[in-house]
């Protein structure tokens, strides 16, 4: 130490700053963050800049299945619609579904996992509930959910918002189980750690112990589950849309574009390429960000 003993000790440094400093050193994470930002800009700002021409049906039929050109940078689809604009529209929905569904799944999963792991009495019932959800066949369950509630929610919120809310909720509520199991296992081990015992000997309430000692230490597995969850949610949404139970047919999502393009893949492979690339890029970017965040949040790795 170079400072004299009389020198005032430094104020506690902001954690956010240290985390960001570490995050920046992770090249993949930084790359992922840039890619994700570009994708978000593409879908949010893009439609404001790129306005497709309004074509009448007769005109649209003339410009079907075009390749890339200055007029249609990504070509047109089988109905003469501008692919670039559809990609932007689709991305907005897909990204929103992916992130919100993941957040719901992670929130529910972490809550149930922590409660089951920390409170012994809740362990049995909550884990049996988790098993029950795991045992349910996912796709039929989603189909039933959508069938039962789509019209009712559509009446209240309109067909598109209604479908969005329903799909996000349906995906979130059927994909929290892995996270719950992982978190419970971690919490079971953490609960017996001596620092938790020390917190109890201080008289800290369970809520405080969970927030201060348990949750920060289960962040790594949660982060992994979350990054995988985004990809899974985007794919599940496209499966639902493909089965005709997601969004209305003319409402584009990346998954939907992918499946629409599938029929024409041999003639116009770019029709599949663009949405596929967008989904892959999102998943990859989120994975790298998750990786970087996990490292940045761990003080043992930070500052090394």
């Amino acid at each position: 130490m170079t400072d004299a003993p009389t020198a005032p000790a430094p104020r506690p440094r902001s954690q956010a700053r240290a985390i960001w400093d570490q995050f920046r050193t992770h090249k993949g994470a930084l790359f992922g963050l840039i890619v994700l930002c570009l994708l978000v800009l593409f879908v949010v700002i893009g439609p404001l800049i790129w306005q497709p021409e309004k074509l009448r049906v007769a005109e649209a039929l003339k410009v079907r299945n075009l390749g890339p050109s200055w007029r249609f940078p990504l070509g047109t689809d089988q109905l003469g619609r501008d692919m670039l604009y559809r990609m932007m529209q689709a991305g907005k929905v897909s990204l929103a579904v992916g992130f919100i569904a993941m957040m719901i799944a992670i929130f529910v999963g972490t809550t149930i996992g922590v409660l089951a792991g920390y409170f012994r009495r809740l362990d049995g019932p909550l884990m049996r509930l988790t098993d029950m959800f795991l045992a349910l066949p996912l796709i039929p369950l989603l189909l039933v959910l959508v069938m039962l509630f789509r019209d009712r929610i559509a009446q209240v919120l309109g067909p598109e918002t209604g479908a969005f809310v329903l799909i996000v909720f349906a995906i979130g509520i059927t994909s929290w189980m892995q996270a719950a199991r992982i978190v419970r296992g971690e919490v079971l081990a953490l609960r017996e750690r001596e620092y938790v015992l020390a917190a109890r000997s201080i008289g800290a309430a369970p809520r405080r112990i969970i927030l201060r000692h348990i949750l920060p230490n289960v962040i790594s597995p949660v982060m992994v589950a979350a990054t995988l969850g985004v990809a899974e949610a985007i794919i599940t949404e496209s499966v639902l849309s493909f089965l005709g139970l997601g969004f209305p047919p003319d409402f584009p999502t990346w998954g939907r574009l992918l499946y629409d393009g599938l029929q024409y893949m041999q003639l116009y492979p770019e029709r599949v390429l663009w949405p596929g690339l967008a989904i892959s890029l999102t998943v990859l970017a989120v994975n790298y960000i998750g990786d970087g965040l996990r490292d940045a949040l761990d003080p043992r790795i930070r500052g090394r």
């Binding site: 750690r193 620092y195 000997s201 201080i202 008289g203 949040l297």
Partner: protein
Amino acid sequence: MPDASPRKLVEVRNLKMHFPITSGILRRHAGDVKAVDGVSFDIFEGETLGLVGESGCGKSTVGRALLRLYEATSGSVVIDGVDIARLGQKELRRIRPKMQMVFQDPQASLNPRMTVAAIIGEPLAEHTGLRGNARLARIHELMDQVGLNRAFANRFPHAFSGGQRQRIGIARALALNPRFIVCDEPIAALDVSIQAQVVNLLEDLQDRLGLTYLFISHDLSMVRHIADRVAVMYLGQIAELSPRDALYANPLHPYARALLSAVPEPDPTLESSRRRIILAGDVPSPANPPKGCNFCTRCPQAQPVCHDVKPPLLEVTPGRHVACHFVPPITAAAGSTGGPEASERNRQGEDR
């Protein structure tokens, strides 16, 4: 003892800590691991009571049950006039600052994701209204007290050596000005050179702050250094509870004798003539302790009576309590720590 004697800060009476064993699909209760089976002792204000014994004899369980980190099966733990074992959660929380704990593994007892300042400040956040600068000032004061550089406040536990981590743990225990600290093998995970530092720190703090320690350890030489009185535990019960010098000079219980004969002697000539008492066999399972004296299966002096009757912990000479049939107790009239009444209270695990 006359009234001038130091006040009892901690009174433990017939403390039992049984962990249930369940078996089968229905998780039926198949028995108990009797980790602590009827332990009674007092700790006087300002003294250090050493608690020694081999691994698995229930030392740490006693320490944790004392702070009610485990719910004791039965018995009472009176700390400063309040029975900890029967308090509700709210009152318990209010009394927590009086008693703190220093843990064995300094690595495991510090949350790796909290800075030193946050770790030491946690008890302050829980129990005092100190905020911002006032809290930071108290944290720095505590760091000074345990000999940590203030500049380390923003570092994380992984950046410290074992001894420094243990100092952080001690600072956390001191944060609320406790009167009683359970040191659960605080030096077992440390290097020998660091052990001395930490023990000296503990002694310093005791002198300065008037602390009372329960010092749990299996390091007999270290206990000899720090403790005023020593309790020897075997299989969940106290075999002998004596003042340090008397115990080390002349252990009365056969188990204490065997245990102390294992302490190496620094003088080579004495060491070569040291006679070790090697016990035969293994420690019986605490789930199924022997019927009479729990040491009877390994005791070199065991007689038929030992296999049938459990010897109570009786006062044999003033201040010395031994649980053995063959160490004659002093007569009730001798009148020291409480005579027959004390012996009555010190009975171990008979009224099951």
